[in-house]
Subunit: 412 residues, 4 copies
């Protein structure tokens, strides 16, 4: 599969490629795997398959002459959070939907795909823009599908693997050098005519101070040093809410890490439980942990504007070359994209001049601009071609079931 | 299938029949259906299949020369609550065990069955008693398997049916006559040499007062009258904890009942949503509801001794004729067994002289003798031949996902 | 003060004595002490003073020609749980009622007392029975007032004392002898014409088996042996709900016990923190603990009928000689009354033929007949003269903020 | 009392004035009023009195030769959240501390005051800076003391008043005009040598866009229009977390508002329940409500930089003239200070270059820089002279027990 979203492929070709990828992702899963929900924040894989189809059906197909809803009860089941699109099944109860079956959901996808592909040549610009949005929306859910399955498998004492472990050469952790920036006014936010989510704009100026960003992501070896230094036991390093979280949840290491007397540190990923790779970037850390680590290191997290300015100054495309989800191959050059989402110290708030779109689609991002922190980059689970320097991912500060890591920054 | 547990069949034949019934019960279920857990009180169907096998493996096979554990991790996964048998997977997380798959669990059953059947001819009396206990234990889980699936399907907006609806003649609700008892000393508790659970004994004397029991179970029509009279809105009818439960949960009808302007009252069962049958016994009511109904009716619930005395005075066998789980056919004669479990006003406490058995098997019933109420009889989901007059079923007073109903009593 | 409730004193005299005792009890308390609520199960002392007055006002005075409500908002504030008496302030929020002040509440008491005393000579039998009920009701709240203050002070790191420690000779723990009973039919429940709460009747027959009761209460020294033997760490001794409670709450000793390296075991009471008296009866234990102790001791708890039969066979009056609340003086003879309430293995359920009274007063006991266990006797905080052999105190099995202990029983 | 904190008074004089104000504030309170805690976010008035004294004792006096701790148990009781100062009493249990009494706490204050006043002339610059910090800290607690009492009294069905209602002329709501700002680089943060909290600096540049701020605060009349337009029922106006909060808590009006058929809208304040003043600024609204109102009005909230730039452009001093806490007198000129704290759309995050101080005092603000929103200005309960343009107050977005309101902003 090529670079499905940013390449010159026509919209129909990209539609087919994105939709096929979702189906390919669930190939290793059983019907039960695809139906279970590990926690309220996660969704079943089957639900992701259905919800992404509901998105196309509801916002593009429904009401179009000649289109017949696949099942008029699915609107209730597979609406995620769009108040304007009507009532919906309670999120924490998605794992109880053992029916429709995975086969039923695949038939639903086929039904929607057939209608989109039939009518796509005749779509006007508005509908084509919604298809584009739907494809990028599906890219986000592809990543969530993988991270939600990881969370499910991590809670199973049998620790199943979704993929075989990659044959990989031992990575060498890059030396941690600082890249300086002189400060001044920069422009950030989406520019140009390509696709972007609403919250990536408007493009606008920000005033930066002189600062430096670390070239390398914080590694597992770095994090082992933090643990060994008592980082999880020193309240002075932590935000107040973070310290309460550490104590309440008994947190003492990144998500899925385990220490055995015989085996030392291991971590659990889509390829099962594996010895910890010291050179790999740390992942599955919360914002609280990222902030505490930075305090311990005498540094801080970057702002989103600093991060985006750094991304603009290099050929970002080279860092974003995943052919498929799964552990990323070490590669020369930047690791801005493709290893892990990187916590910033910026709260997810509207850019100056931001206005949500009218209608249900306007609920896409704006209503979440509260209490969450921005992450930049892309992870090993992000479909190739779907991230950009201007992408603003966001999660609550305690969440860490995504592939989340950090890069240090400091004032100059 | 004949009357598998009480007939003269030899132990090996009964073993095969009981074990086959469990597998037959899940035939209508998908892998996802069999893996989901609707609430902490319920368990996945797949878990019931595995746990009942774990029971035979742990208490009979494990440690026997020549027996190889099927998977040494299954002890952790499928122990229910036996502290003496070691640590175990958290009950509310059983629905996350999408692996082992249903096929894996069926292979586990085959492995255990082969070992039991090979060695059964050589078992001593102690081991044979444990096989007997295991079969009766599995009978209990067969009922739970059905009621847990019913609870799961009832929470699915698609309301799937497990079985086709039965072709049945309209039942006529029996007239509600009273059967008097003069009181005096009676004997209750298990007698004789057949199988009984530990809590059914010792047999002992109880002093009854003159009283009467209703011949008929309270029907759906009776319950509609209670609703129409405002029974769910009058605190004077309710126990204090019951009234708090009604208000907190917004209870206004038995479980799975729904009232639509067009369709009137319907209820949901293993055959899907169906019009309410006024003549059928009401089911899916809590102890709180049973007690409130009795207060409204100017009556009370029976004690377990009163109920058992009534059962002893008739040929109980005739009332317990289920060939298979599923809605019971109306039948002449007593409805003590086979329609629904009947709440009594007796708390589940030890009979005089009761002592739990030594070892893990002693955890079977004794440690639950607190806070729960006794139910007598058997329901439409109870495997034929597994109930007795002396059986003491028990649940907390707010629970109603079983087929639970009531019969009235009064003092004379 | 004499024996205010059981003596020959006329009703007016007893009214004055009981009402005066409540006021005397709060003398050591500040306005803040009297207003705070330590937990949802407890009430502020000031609230007890007001609620007991509300009882007289609502059920006897309100509506009587010439009576003016002291404050028409007090019905909302000081109704405890009487649904028939209208809506009420939420129980867990009683500690927020810093107004009315303690002085206001004392004025309220004076207003009610003046009206009762003026009209008492003219009251008919029904009203006199309600006065009697109100006085016994107030006796119950006097005990709760003391135990609620104890719970409040126990949660204060300063550990204030309400009373000075008694000058007492070291008690000698009585030898633990068994008193046998041959079994047979006995009568229990209230008899005669004196006052009793509704739930103490009807008097009725019960069939006892041959059994023995320990003459002595379980002592602190006995309990230290249970702790030393690992009683709190062995799940085999515990009810399932009890074991969950022990683990969830981290229970390892009776309420208010503390072990310091230097001081050994101490306990906290109304006279502050004191060295543990090995000979004194253990108190502040839950039903779960009482049951586990009995299992460990190879015994069981008595039934309420066994306990009452024992009380009937001795001169119960001698065991109930408290002149005032506070640590009881050791005394020769029975300790059935006056040291601590004694858990039985009987659930609090209606006696045969029990019917709640009509109207709000009928909510007194009947609606609590669910999920709670009966305690017999009386504690050091029970006002002298207010207990009887037929009294049925009741609490949920996890509760232990009262002076609760146990006496062992065994089958013969 | 003059303008105690900003005037030229020497430090000793200001110390006496601030400390005396705290004691004066509790004059209308009973011991019980001063001891109760209305919710975990609030503290008892007595606790505020003690904690502010503990601050001086712990950070300035403790360890100084010749100083004797008033009570060595008070460190445990009255530490708020300083991890470096040792363990502490659980925050939600502060209302259980009926001892020490209010008189004890006043004696504690006297003890601390005597020591500070004796040694103040000899204090070095570091100690004097800590006194300054302690006085400003106490100013913050004076406001909290008032708002916490308001919250307590609002939960009491008797609705007590702390102060008599002010004799005030009907205010005229100012016309809502916009004040434009051309944008560009501005400096914000504390400048100069006067006192400021750590989080107010470093002073730094921010880039503003052209925008306008409303001259007037949003009034009660404005809010009534929002309610009448269905603002609380339209999810499109709300942040996702805000909408969940509205539904979960049943929010339909600002805090303490009530609508009666006869009386119309009333609100509850320190002077009791009063008819709503349409011209007064709305208060007791959460960030969620402020944001929803702004969306409904087609505007937005200001950023903290925009607000501070506006304050810098006028003589802020004139707007901050409270002689005492209590409802503010309408005054000509700006209402930036003194009516209510004003929500901004800025998250409470560190200013560029911010570093917490070393030691326990460094826990003052930095560890709360997560999940909270900045408020600017000052309220009617803010002691005169304690606010500044650079002050950054902060609360979680659902909190509204403070005097919180809003001012609109828009892009140009």
């Amino acid at each position: 599969m090529g670079d499905v979203l940013t390449a010159e492929a026509d919209l129909a070709g990209r539609y087919r490629a994105v939709r096929a990828l979702s189906v390919a992702l669930v190939a290793p899963l059983s019907d039960a795997d695809a139906s279970a929900q590990s926690m309220p924040d996660a969704s079943p894989a089957k639900w992701h398959l259905a919800h992404t189809s509901w998105f196309f059906e509801t916002f593009i197909l429904a009401g179009r002459p000649g289109y017949r809803l696949f099942d008029d009860r699915f609107g209730f089941l597979f609406n995620s959070y769009y108040e304007a699109a009507g009532p919906r099944h309670a999120r924490p109860a998605r794992g109880l939907l053992t029916r429709p079956s995975l086969d039923d959901v695949l038939a639903y996808r086929h039904h929607v795909d057939a209608a989109i592909e039939r009518w796509l040549p005749d779509f006007d610009a508005g509908a084509r823009a919604l298809v584009e949005l739907g494809l990028n929306h599906e890219g986000q859910h592809q990543e969530l599908l993988l991270t939600d399955i990881l969370d499910l498998f991590a809670r199973n004492p049998l620790e199943p693997a979704m993929y075989p472990p990659p044959a990989r050469l031992a990575a060498h952790a890059p030396e941690s050098r600082w890249r300086n920036h002189p400060g001044g006014i920069v422009e950030i936010g989406h520019a140009g005519t390509g696709f972007a989510f609403d919250c990536e704009g408007p493009r606008h100026q920000q005033l930066l101070r002189p600062h430096a960003l670390a070239e390398a992501l914080v590694s597992n070896a770095d994090w082992q040093a933090f643990i060994a230094a008592g980082g999880y036991r020193d309240p002075a390093l932590w935000l107040s809410d973070g310290w309460a979280w550490v104590q309440r949840e008994g947190i003492a290491a990144p998500g899925h890490w385990r220490h055995d007397a015989n085996d030392g540190w291991t971590s659990f990923g889509l390829a099962g439980r594996r010895p910890l790779d010291p050179a790999a970037p740390v992942t599955h850390i919360s914002y609280y942990e990222a902030d505490a680590f930075a305090s311990w290191a005498g540094a801080r997290l970057p702002t989103e504007a600093e991060w985006e300015a750094a991304a603009a100054s290099e050929d970002a495309a080279g860092g974003n070359q995943l052919d498929r989800p799964g552990p990323v191959q070490p590669q020369g050059g930047s690791d801005l994209f493709g290893d892990c989402w990187q916590w910033t110290m910026s709260a997810f708030l509207p850019y100056p001049g931001f206005r949500p779109a009218a209608g249900a689609v306007g609920e896409y991002n704006g209503k979440f601009m509260n209490g969450q922190m921005v992450l930049k980059g892309a992870s090993c689970a992000t479909p190739r071609g779907t991230s950009r320097a201007s992408v603003r991912n966001f999660f609550y500060p305690h969440m860490r079931w995504q592939f989340t890591g950090l890069r240090l920054a400091k004032d100059l």
